[in-house]
């Protein structure tokens, strides 16, 4: 337990009542919270447990102190509980800390004491950088489920792309901005115009002219080349708008080659995000108090529909029926046994493979399924706290470093997000910067993040002593000094089995689209006959009008890119 002063612990809880549920959910990360809310919304009885004292699991926003202890503490082994039912075979759960290779550094003693005094004023995202596109799946789901009424957002002020030798350049979010760009020739602008007209016609159902089926299936990067777009624009479209991770020009390393049809979808989402909500200048939104508000909002939605919440409650084992090997329930650290038809498990829980169980064939087989995990690479994450912004007069901004922008061997893009105190996540005068990239091993990931940080920031000295590929710096600019930073690695794991399902681990994306797609799919598998958030019925619920976006804004400043 990370909070010794916590006056509440599971031992002081009354026993959980009832003991039978349709669904037990363990962990309160975003996927789990969405499943709990969706299942509660269709009338399932749901018990939602979390061993932590906070909501959000890997998607929590934490105070600096809590974040540090979460990252550095080996996970509390749940204490053994006695008692229980002999009809069932207990399988102990093993918790693997979702973060590994943790490094934390302070700049100096003065910063350390400043941060200690202000620790509680920080709400630092564990899964950062994260932001939402105004027209993306998370926003639509928030509104559809009614969870949006518990949250407030602000728009991200600016989006930048990092260019080798040139530093930060604005991601042009309107046609006007592109055409004002002095670095493009008239010919290039005309090629762009032709491209946008084509995309616009393609997306307009009333227009005949479409991008050919053949072109829709080719790599987007080839299509952009075919359209003769300048390299700079190509790079912005691929990495800063479609947000792809791998170098699209390098077939050997690229694991996520984007097809034209998906690229067009990304452009459409970006275009309908800009200007969807008044007061959001660009395409991106960020929640006040941090990303950890998202799981909380869905949990609150679930609670309103009757879901029971118990934090600080570790689950120590799964109860399996001895004969059939079927999942029956869970045993809590309090010793209580609870039963459910289905179980959703935080992906950081596993069961050990138990070779000694040769006698129980079915059971062994099932347990082996449970211990199978599919590791699909890693995400490296970095967090920096500074006392000045990477761009004067801009508080909240996103930065994308396309592949090869930092050094030639850089095969993945790096995403970064700076958030200031007007989003209530840090004390006045400070900024939090989040960085992430996909990688194959921890050292490679950290090297990339450090190079990205070094391009814009001054890291604490000890971090700089390693051989980091040097990035040319504009000596005229004074780079903000990092007073605290942290690095950690998360594995991308998927697993799934009959009545026990594991939610996806945090991915390397800036938004939640893939995660929520996987969550909706999981819900569909669990409850094939139920709707994922049916239309709201209670008068407290906001109306669900399903109006996709407000009328398009013709103004150039907030302008929609895809206009004829």
């Amino acid at each position: 337990m990370t909070e010794p002063q916590d006056p509440f612990s599971f031992s002081s809880y009354p026993p959980i009542d009832p003991i039978n549920f349709d669904l037990i959910v363990i962990g309160t990360a975003l996927s789990e919270s969405v499943i709990a809310a969706a299942a509660s919304a269709v009338g399932k009885t749901v018990l939602h447990l979390d061993p932590n004292s906070f909501y959000g699991s890997h998607f929590a926003s934490l105070s600096l102190h809590d974040l540090t202890s979460y990252l550095t503490s080996p996970h509390h082994p749940p204490r053994a509980a006695s008692g229980g039912d002999s009809d069932y075979f207990g399988v102990d759960l093993v918790h693997q800390h979702p973060c590994s290779d943790v490094e934390i550094a302070f700049c100096d003693d003065e910063s350390e004491s400043f941060l200690r005094e202000n620790s509680r004023k920080f709400n630092i995202d564990l899964g950062g950088p994260r932001a939402l596109f105004s027209a993306d799946k998370a926003i639509n789901l928030l509104m559809k489920s009614g969870a949006s009424q518990y949250m407030e957002f602000k728009g991200i002020d600016e989006s930048f792309v990092y260019e080798a030798n040139e530093g930060l350049a604005n991601v042009p979010d309107s046609r006007g901005a592109i055409f004002r760009d002095k670095k493009l020739s008239l010919k290039e602008k005309n090629q762009l115009m032709r491209f946008f007209k084509l995309v616009l016609k393609h997306l307009d159902d009333t227009q005949e002219e479409k991008i050919s089926e053949e072109d829709l299936e080719i790599p987007f990067v080839s299509f952009l080349e075919k359209m003769k777009l300048p390299p700079k624009i190509k790079s912005i479209l691929l990495y800063a708008i479609a947000m792809v991770d791998y170098d699209q020009d390098n077939n050997e390393v690229c694991k996520d080659l984007l097809k034209t049809k998906d690229g067009i979808d990304c452009l459409a989402q970006y275009s309908s995000s800009v200007g969807r909500f008044p007061n959001a200048p660009g395409a991106l939104l960020y929640p006040i108090y941090g990303e950890g508000e998202l799981p909380q909002a869905f949990c609150r939605r679930a609670a309103v529909k009757g879901c029971i919440y118990v934090l600080r409650m570790p689950v120590i084992s799964l109860l399996m029926e001895k004969v059939t090997g079927l999942y029956k329930g869970v045993r809590l650290a309090s010793g209580q046994d609870l039963y459910s038809n289905q179980l959703i498990l935080d992906p950081s829980f596993t069961v050990p493979s138990l070779p000694s169980l040769s006698r129980r064939d079915v059971l062994t087989e099932r347990l082996q399924m449970l211990s199978q995990r599919d590791i699909k690479g890693m995400v490296a994450r970095g967090i920096c706290i500074t006392k000045s912004s990477i761009k004067p007069d801009v508080s909240n901004c996103s930065v994308v470093y396309p592949p090869r922008s930092l050094y030639p061997e850089q095969v993945t893009s790096i995403k970064a997000l700076q958030i200031g105190s007007n989003l209530a996540v840090c004390p006045a005068g400070t900024f939090i910067l989040y960085f992430s990239t996909l990688c194959n091993d921890a050292d490679e990931g950290k090297k990339l993040l450090k190079a990205a940080m070094n391009a814009l920031l001054t890291l604490p000295v000890s971090e700089n002593s390693e051989s980091i590929p040097s990035v040319q710096s504009d000596s005229a600019d004074i780079k903000p000094i990092v007073i605290w930073n942290a690095f950690y690695i998360q594995k991308l794991i998927t697993s799934k089995f009959e009545f026990i399902s594991s939610t996806p681990t945090p991915d390397g994306n800036l938004n939640y689209n893939d995660l929520l797609d996987a969550t909706e799919k999981l819900f569909g598998q669990m409850y094939p006959n139920e709707e994922f958030f049916p239309k709201a019925t209670s008068p407290e619920d906001p109306k669900d009008e399903d109006e996709d976006e407000d009328e398009d804004d013709d103004g150039e400043d907030s302008g929609i890119t895809l206009e004829s």
Binding site: Y13, F54, Y55, Y150, Y289, V304, A424, D550
Partner: protein
Amino acid sequence: MATIGHNNLNAKLCYFHQVLLGDMGAGKSSLVLRFVKGQFLEFQESTIGAAFFSQTLAVNDATVKFEIWDTAGQERYHSLAPMYYRGAAAAIIVYDITSSDSFTRAKKWVQELQKQGNPNMVMALAGNKADLEDKRKVTAEEARVYAEENGLFFMETSAKSATNVNDVFYEIAKRLPRAQPAQNPAGMVLVDRPAEGTRAASCCS
């Protein structure tokens, strides 16, 4: 939460997010129901199904609109999300005068708010079920002393007989600083259609 002042014609309209905390069964929902709808249900079910209520009060020169958040049952195993009370301008901590345990838990809620909540939050301690005098376990004196030591104001209430219910809310409304700069940065609430009223669009900065 956002505070919006309209200064035309001296009519000031203030929005406040208010929360009620306390043990399950202490009477949080009953107090709200009495205040908002003037009703009392002898066997109020555990709260499910409502997220918040709102009630408008005219107090002196201002119109105060309370948005009263319900715990939605998350208090039962002490699992309230910080989002519940983080932006709150006022809190009523409710206990049941017939249960010493509920008073002990109320003190824990006060501790939690002092630790995690908005430092300028107006807090009231309400000893509910004051109509059950013969079953009393917590003396008014004990609670009053505790409230004074912790800077709360204290009243015994009865949602059943309506005693002091409106008074608690009026007293809070009087103590809320009207012209306070928004305690927390105001953002926008997502509304996918032209917003009704001022809330969604105009309180954004």
